[in-house]
């Protein structure tokens, strides 16, 4: 008898959004293949080449994993780019070409990430400072520290450590395996653990999370620590790839805004509580494919076109999600 009050037929709409990033990836792949075929460059359609495309976005991918955690919490982290630079410089200076210093350098960099993450998390969750401001402030602080101490490539990493960026298992780079593993772990944590469930709860409705007995500030703190740790790992990767650390590498790659962009393209909403890691990985893939398509067509030489297209895609993706969610409310 109560069945006649069945809810309005909105079922399934929320779910369509979840596969939207996949559709975008497929579309980008098709465009890429079409361009390769039509410009008669079939050599770019091999598996090896595809792996190369993926390998170009490792640092962005690693950072975006962490960014996804904080954005799911309805927070954000603008300090990752400068933290990446700081981590790369710190690692490269401590290593100074010595293989024996690899472990201490990694340890030092992880501690740096931990400290920055804890500070970000406490300022956001305990002091209640808006995360944009809190992490922007942190970004300036890190940048200031960097420019006080270094103004060029500093130190160098030993050859052994370059294996992180250049080593391969068969045809697949180690770093790509690492990123995939990181994404799988993140997915597992978000999907199957209480901590993951808490993240969605705190991001989706902090009051509801609190009255359900979740200590919300701890979850936010943990999210920021994870984000900062992924950023310093991205810094280690870049130090390994560039064979040294420089104070501008993070800012040059615009890892702060790019990691936010790919997360959002992947369907994670800035207001928190909705999204996931595979969307973010799809976002990274889309950005890589755009670059690859531009390289194929030769348009990459035209300054600015790539950036414009990225901009269009970010806005179009978010507009798409916005329109979908409006339909759900109606």
């Amino acid at each position: 008898m109560t069945d006649m009050l069945a809810p309005a037929p909105v079922r399934g709409m929320l779910r369509f959004e979840r596969i939207a990033p996949v559709l975008l990836v497929v579309a980008a792949l098709l465009v890429y293949a079409a361009v390769a075929v039509s410009t008669r460059q079939p050599q770019y359609l091999t598996v090896d080449n595809f792996i190369q495309i993926l390998a170009r976005s490792i640092a962005l991918g690693i950072t975006a994993v962490g960014q996804t955690f904080v954005i799911l919490l309805a927070s954000i982290d603008l300090s990752v780019a400068n933290l990446i630079s700081a981590a790369a410089v710190l690692a490269s200076v401590i290593m100074a070409g010595q293989p024996s210093m690899i472990v201490p350098a990694i340890a030092a960099v992880l501690v740096l990430g931990l400290v920055v993450g804890v500070v970000n998390g406490l300022v956001v969750a305990r002091l209640g400072v808006n995360p944009l401001i809190a992490t922007l402030g942190m970004a300036f602080i890190i940048q200031g520290c960097l420019s006080a101490f270094v103004n060029n490539f500093a130190g160098s990493v030993p050859e052994e450590f370059q294996a992180f960026a250049y080593g391969q298992v068969g045809p697949v780079p180690w770093s790509l395996v690492f990123l995939t593993a990181l994404a799988v772990i993140a997915w597992f944590v978000l999907r199957f653990t209480k901590f993951g469930s808490d993240i969605y709860a705190v991001g989706g409705n902090p009051d509801a999370a609190r009255v359900a007995g979740i200590k919300t500030w701890r979850v936010i703190l943990a999210g920021h620590v994870i984000c900062s740790l992924t950023a310093v790992i991205a810094g280690l990767y870049l130090a390994s790839r560039l064979r040294s650390g420089a104070p501008w590498i993070g800012a040059d790659g615009a890892y702060d805004l790019q990691s936010i962009a790919v997360t959002v393209i992947g369907g994670t909403v800035l207001s928190g509580g909705r999204g996931g890691i595979w969307g973010t990985m799809a976002g990274v893939l889309i950005f890589s494919l755009i670059d690859a398509i531009f390289n194929l067509t030769g348009l990459a030489a035209v300054v600015g076109v790539q950036g414009m297209l990225r901009g269009v895609i970010i806005v179009a993706a978010v507009a798409f999600y916005a329109v979908r969610s409006r339909k759900i409310v109606a």
Partner: protein, 517 residues
Amino acid sequence: MDVRSAMRSGEDDPVARPAIEMSHISKSFPGVRALDDVSFSCAPGEVHALVGENGAGKSTLIKILSGVYTPDVGSIVVDGRTVTFRHPLHALRAGISVIYQEFSLLPERTVAQNLFLGREIRRGVIIDGRAMTAETDRVLAMFGTRHRIRPDTIVGELDVASQQMVEIARAISLNARVIVMDEPTAALNETECEVLFKLIDQLRASGTAIIYITHRMREVGRLADRVTVLKDGEVAARFETVPDPQTIVRAMVGRDIADYYPAAAAASEIGGTVLAVAGASNAALKDISFALKAGEITGFAGLQGAGRTALAMALFGAAPFSSGMVTLGGTAVHFSRPRDAIRAGIGVLPGDRKAEGLLLMQSVRDNGMVTARSFGGLIRAHRRNKYIDLAGMDELLDRMEVRAPSYEQQMRLLSGGNQQKAIVARWLALKPRVLIFIEPTRGIDVNAKAGIYHLMRELARSGAAIMMISSDLPEILGVADQILVMREGRIVGSFARGASEAEIMLAATGEHLERAA
């Protein structure tokens, strides 16, 4: 149980020992004394009704009991042990669960995930989704809603009543010793209410202590063993047995409400047809025909999802009719967006004031001016436009008796009743011909409710046609001059003033209801 408390329960009547006992609780917020020396207890197997106007301190008391706030003064004793709750988690661990009026569901997550929020079933670190689904199914079966609400449904896709059911199911599935229900029936229809009441009876029989907050006197009579009335942060009265509704209401408002409902419209006050709808349909509505007359209040009754809000949205141009005929003041009209409807003289007072009606951070005056400004031209609309100026708005707000220290005050600091009146003032500035009130008194206290009813009557007398959509059947019966009943997108019944509740429920549900005591 330690020896001392065992001895004590031997001395006393064991049933009478309260499951919770709050003593001499006081709590202040900046500028407000929310609670002043309030004591409150609830025994196992007892339903203790907590009533009072909005702002009387009920929510604050509950939030103290559930660990959201900590009291400035006073103690809480749970099962003979003094406790201090610094976080809701502590209250949950002590066996106290709360059905909140708002803010406790996650719209993006599934029913099962919501039901087990914060206490997920786990195997090691891994959440056991299957066990949660099975357990959710079992709990929902108690409500007879198993087929309507599935454990893997996203909560945001459920209608309001089903969401409310999920909330109730969550609180009950905690197996708490004390369950606080803060207006649990606000979004439920009669049938669903009855299911809930039977569950409450079961919980009472099994020894759960239940604190029941409501505005509806009928529910107090149906459920409660004891009644405590809060007024202005103090205990105004405590009844060991449930008295008649008049006595409770008198204690709540501190005086008799002589004329709670306004008088009906006299025949001479009812004018010609203002708005007529003939054979109109859209996706949610089928073959709608009715007429609104000047000076008359037309009540729209029906269950959640019967199409009443959809009808309002169609008239307002937000979700237009796709076929049929609408005439306003004798001319055929078709509104495809709200702007057109507003310009033609239709105003809507939305049911969800906070989300759809109010600019919470702006002043009372700005809230009144917003629509007139929007239609009043580009250049000088801010202070004075073709509809109204600031002085005129202040006059209107005065006439609506909006109580605020100043009209510069931010809207969010006003009570629900005063907010509603300020929105009425907003529409009056445009001199509307039709005003649509959606759930006009939802979340508004008893005293202010009477004010809103009289205001609606006054607006009708001044020549407007009033359409009143409400799920509170007594208020429709008390206020409306004619009552239309909707079901499944159609108008299925039309009643004159004086119709009985049973007649209308029969039309609204399409079946004979077994009325419980």
